[in-house]
């Protein structure tokens, strides 16, 4: 690779039905790297939760586009993914984590998606810039 960092992007309508296309994009990105199965599943899950969140809330009740950019990161080897949408400003990291110790009766799964993402990834940050929500995650290969 010699410092050459390949970056790829997918712009797609933020709709839950497009999850399959998003998964295909991520699989393609991961083909470039020797990614352990467990880490691949975790990346797929992080991507799904973030994409579904954007699809459900960013433009509701209308719809809009999301751009996902992926690049192989080095030192340590990992995958960096950026999600950009032009929906309502929303910082998913500002929300308190759900209480995962409460009983069945009180359970609802709101907020569980982002909670899982935070547990799985090695780094996550959010910015709102020029009318865009920009969420970046990094997952290391080791």
């Amino acid at each position: 690779m010699g410092g050459e960092r390949e970056s790829r992007a997918l712009t797609i309508e933020a709709a839950v039905e497009n999850l399959t296309a998003v998964n295909a994009f991520v699989e393609e990105l991961l083909e470039q790297m020797a990614c352990p199965m467990k880490i691949q599943l975790q990346i797929e899950m992080a991507v799904e939760e973030i994409f579904v969140n954007i699809a459900s809330y960013a433009y509701a009740p209308k719809t809009g586009a999301v751009t996902i950019r992926g690049a192989v990161a080095e030192d340590p080897l990992g995958l960096e993914l950026t999600f950009e949408d032009s929906g309502i400003p929303y910082d998913p990291l500002a929300k308190a984590d759900p209480d995962v110790t409460i009983s069945l009766e009180e359970r609802d799964v709101g907020g569980l998606g982002i909670f899982l993402v935070k547990k799985i990834v090695d780094d996550i940050h959010y910015e709102y810039e020029e009318g865009k929500n920009i969420l970046t995650i990094r997952k290391n290969m080791v």
């Binding site: 999850l19 899950m45 799904e48 939760e49 579904v52 995962v100 609802d108 799964v109 569980l112 909670f115």
Partner: protein, 100 residues
Amino acid sequence: MEIKKVLNGEKLEIFLSGRLDAVTSQDLDKVVSSSLDGVKELVFDLSDLSYIASAGLRSLLVAQKRMKKQGSMKLCHVNKDVRDVLEMTGFVDFLTIEED
């Protein structure tokens, strides 16, 4: 994802294979809301389930809440990756998981 149902009297077994994600969990929700009348024992066989996301957890939660009122529910043959997600989210605390 494939959903296979086997009804035996008041016992319903649901075999899930593939990925339980935000798209396929909608199919499971339909099965759960239309198949549980009169069911006292619900078993999810997850032998061939390779992946579960939060939407899938919600489907299991809905099923568990309903079965708590009318009988019992358990999961069996849960693989390591799926179990990790159940553990991270505390779902292991209120779901019955049969050990292999």
